[in-house]
Amino acid sequence: RFSQNFREVAGRFLVSEASTRLLVFSMEQRLPPNSELVQAVLRLFQEPVPEAALRRHELLSPHGDRARVTVQWLQVRDDGSNRTFLIDSRPVSIRESGWKAFDVTEAVNFWQQLSRPREPLLLQVSVQREHPGQPASSAHRLVRFASQGPSGPRQGEPQLELHTLDLGEFGAQGNCDPEVPVSEGTRCCRQEMYIDLQGMKWAENWVLEPPGFLAYECVGTCQQPPEALTFKWPLLGPRQCIASEMTSLPMIVSVKEGGRRRLRVVSLPNMRVQKCSCASDGAPVSRKLEP
């Protein structure tokens, strides 16, 4: 595209080398109320490849014995159309068998954003050549995962593992109790903090409203989760008490325009803490689901 020398050529997707499966997980009552999803893991059981097939593969296409497994979240819209979001993708070896784990935290986060608790979580799992365009490798055809069975749980059936934290224990507690002084043991809360604008020299005769405002601040500590997660995020820090929601501060200021003095309204973003929460630095931030 955008090349001076070549005219853009649009292609159509005619042949798919991928085998794709759709996994359906009912999510009703899977996430406890007042809890925070910390991680979601999809576990697929890769079935062993028969020896004869392995030997045939080696003879026919010696180009590598790995395939790429890709997990996508599938959203079915009200108008019947659907769209997919890449969630996780990694190579697997056809020589291995056993449980393979994929991080599908973002898929569950997308599902939560739909706010439709009765709708199932749809995960599309496809197995492709490890490198598109690789000559004559058909290793991916030998990768098979045990599938969901229509008649109840079976050996090796795909599993969705949800790691949640009870916010009653690991979350913030709303506003601090003004009667109780903040101490080491105080759980994360929002504390009143008044900012006196009239006391600021530079604001004199310039900022006319407000004379001051409640900015609040987040104080206290957060309980740390005991459990080791399946996927470790290398930069994950401890849970801290942070301002998770902020709101703006409108002001009336006096400005000079054309030598004349005028009053104007401005709004300063992110000036007041609306909500405090416990969160970890370095935790992945999920994408917002656009309409």
Partner: protein
């Protein structure tokens, strides 16, 4: 939220690089026009009610 933070945000909103110098006549209490007060109250109400869509 610190004093510096408020000042730099206000200068940014007004596209100013420094605090305006006010002369004597500016020190008189101006009358706030009704439309300015209405806009201010509307923003105030919205900022107290609005929740950013954060986690």
């Amino acid at each position: 939220v610190t004093e510096e933070h408020i000042l730099s945000s206000l200068l940014q909103q007004l596209h100013l690089s420094e605090v305006p110098v006010l002369d004597e006549s500016d020190a008189e209490e101006p009358v706030t026009p009704a439309h300015v007060r209405a806009q201010y109250v509307a923003l105030l109400r919205r900022s107290h009610g609005a929740r950013s869509r954060g986690k």
